[in-house]
């Protein structure tokens, strides 16, 4: 086969390393934080561009790709701290928690814990809680909407069943994360400044509907009851757990369960032969 002379300028230098060694060392060099660790022998490379320049392009692509993957999962954190600071946190996280597989959408679960107390974030005590809330939103957004409440079914009073939406979760936080996230994503500095960070523990039911990720505030008793049901407990056991906690009088618990759960959109109450009794939808 004729070879264009310009193309044929192969130097055919002996390989310095086996392919396995080359790949291992290049991966290490691409992720190194210090200049010394980033260097590879100049004799490894040929061509018009210096090897260090090519490595710089690949390093930017690798670290930028990881940072952008985290940005997709943690949009409120990104908006709150700004792109450059987010990249700093993301790059440091990536260097110690690299993905093991190419589907980056499911990578980065430890990011919330990693950025808790990250240097420079002392004035954002809720950063970890906000990241956990971002991750919960992202996880639910990837679920298929369940408009038929095809998830957990719980027998209630012998004759009835509670049918919960698939993927329904209870999220609790020490900070008002829903209000924080909404204000941050809306770029509403006034609303953000007005949020009372000491408002106490917040509970939410979260699920995926056709319109997107849905959120409903829950009272503490309703959250405890629902969490116990979703963990596989019976209605009776869940109720006993909530009452034993003794945080609310029985009448208040009953009212909360009626309002926060039996009338919620994430539940359908039906007889065992599936006749709908109202509620939910």
């Amino acid at each position: 086969m004729p070879r264009t002379p310009d193309i044929a300028g192969l130097q055919a230098a002996p390989a310095l390393w086996s392919l396995a060694t080359l790949q291992s060392r290049m991966a290490t060099a691409l992720l190194a934080a210090d200049d010394a660790g980033r260097e590879l022998p100049a004799a490894l490379f040929a061509g018009a561009l210096p090897g260090a320049e090519g490595l710089r392009v690949h390093r930017n692509t690798v670290l930028g790709g990881l940072s952008n993957a985290l940005r997709q999962t943690y949009p409120a954190v990104d908006r709150l701290v700004g792109e450059a600071f987010f990249d700093r946190m993301a790059v440091e996280f990536s260097r110690v928690h690299l993905p093991r597989a190419p589907q980056l959408g499911s990578w980065g679960k430890g990011f919330a814990d990693f950025i808790d107390g990250f240097p420079g974030t002392g004035n954002l005590p809720y950063l970890r809680a906000l990241a956990q809330f971002d991750a919960r939103f992202d996880e639910l957004a990837r679920c298929v909407p369940d408009e038929r409440h095809a998830g957990v079914a719980v027998p209630l009073h012998g004759e009835l069943n509670l049918y919960f939406t698939a993927g329904l979760v209870v999220h609790s936080s020490s900070y008002p994360v829903a209000a924080l996230r909404e204000a941050i994503l809306a770029d509403d500095a006034l609303a953000l400044a007005a949020i009372d960070l000491a408002c106490g523990e917040q509970h939410f039911a979260m699920w995926r509907a056709a319109a997107g990720v849905m959120l409903q505030p829950l009272g503490a008793a309703a959250a405890g009851y629902l969490r116990a049901l979703l963990d596989g407990g019976t209605s009776e056991a869940a109720l006993a757990t909530v009452l034993a906690a003794g945080e609310s009088p029985e009448a208040e618990v009953a009212a909360q369960l009626q309002q926060d759960i039996l009338q919620a959109r994430f539940v359908r109450v039906a007889t065992h032969n599936n006749a709908v009794m109202g509620a939910g939808q």
């Binding site: 086969m1 004729p2 070879r3 264009t4 310009d6 193309i7 044929a8 192969l10 130097q11 055919a12 230098a13 002996p14 390989a15 310095l16 086996s18 392919l19 396995a20 080359l22 790949q23 291992s24 290049m26 991966a27 290490t28 691409l30 992720l31 004799a43 490894l44 490379f45 040929a46 061509g47 018009a48 561009l49 090897g51 320049e53 090519g54 490595l55 392009v57 690949h58 692509t61 690798v62 790709g65 990881l66 993957a69 690299l98 993905p99 093991r100 597989a101 190419p102 589907q103 980056l104 959408g105 499911s106 957004a141 990837r142 679920c143 298929v144 909407p145 995926r208």
Partner: protein, 307 residues
């Protein structure tokens, strides 16, 4: 869930790379497009997006363009990832499946980039082993794309084109010829892109090329002020790449051609506009080819071209 038993072949027309921000609109409004291509890794942990993609697939031919097989990894391919790709393939029945002549896994970790291989005999054996393993697991032929390169290894027994031609010859895989990547790599190595393309057409069996890619790229300066082209898929296709594409059609014929756009994603109509430009070049070539063989009346070319 829609289950598709037959794969629709990808037409020899200009298709569009489908990205998640456009997907809902495409699923509901069904805009004009000959076919779509997606990155399967974006759907492996996102059931909601996958269900929506099935709605798209019900109305358009679809190609899966993987970025995570790491066909050049000395440690071998990740069989769990291959199984995920196979599951997607069974669900979506794509017309084509492709990945790159590159590596991205090392030390048990994934680096989101298409890292370059040295074109040596050792690397050739490894790539062939990996490609054969993937093709066997998928039960079908892969297309392998030439990546953009920013590094050249001193140890090289063959050119990139010769290397890929050897992989094709040994494994029976096909080639996805990325015209923008040929241009970017050539310019970064201070070579003439048309000469490089000529070398590709000499090295490859024309029948092995099953698809072409087009994309925009960025031009930046290195630390010492030299020109550096970055394949960022963030702009319209530049004039030089359109010219190279015309030459590639002349060399390899009219093939399924994809318009890729990944960063700074514009309105979908911009992608349609770019795809239409590629389609016009394909149509012009077909028309001229028919004229040369006497199958068209130039007094009424449009009618004949679509006959």
């Amino acid at each position: 869930m829609t289950r598709l038993s037959d794969s629709s072949p990808i037409p020899a027309r200009a298709g569009i790379g489908l990205r998640l921000p456009h997907q809902s609109m495409v699923a509901t409004e069904r805009p004009a497009a000959a076919w779509f291509e997606v990155h399967p890794e974006n759907y492996m942990a996102d059931e909601a997006a996958l269900v929506e993609l099935e709605q798209v697939r019900a109305h358009y031919p679809l190609s899966l363009h993987a970025v995570g097989l790491s066909l050049g990894s000395a440690a071998g391919v990740d069989l769990a990832h291959v199984a995920r790709l196979r599951a997607l393939s069974e669900r979506l029945a794509p017309g084509l499946i492709s990945d790159h002549l590159s590596w991205s896994m090392a030390n048990g970790q994934f680096l989101p980039d298409l890292l370059p291989l040295p074109y040596t005999g050792e690397a050739l054996a490894i790539v062939c082993r990996n490609v054969e393993q993937v093709q066997q697991a998928l039960g079908r032929r892969l297309l392998i794309e030439n990546p953009s390169t920013y590094l050249c290894y001193a140890a090289a027994d063959m050119t990139e084109a010769e290397f890929l031609a050897a992989v094709v010859q040994r494994t029976g895989c096909g080639v996805l010829l990325d015209i923008n990547n040929i241009y970017v790599s050539a310019r970064n190595q201070r070579r003439d892109a048309h000469e490089v393309l000529m070398h590709w057409s000499q090295a490859l069996d024309r029948r092995s090329v099953g698809e072409m890619h087009l994309a925009g790229h960025a031009v930046v300066a290195t630390a010492d002020g030299a020109e550096l082209r970055i394949d960022d898929h963030g702009d319209r296709v530049c004039a030089d790449v359109w010219s190279l594409y015309e030459a590639a059609i002349a060399d390899f014929g009219v093939l399924p051609t994809l318009l890729e756009w990944d960063t700074r994603l514009p309105d979908f109509t911009v992608l349609q506009d770019e795809a239409q430009r590629a389609q016009h070049l394909q149509d012009d070539f077909t028309l001229m080819a028919r004229a040369r063989t006497g199958r068209v009346d130039f007094r009424n070319p449009g009618h004949a071209a679509h006959a």
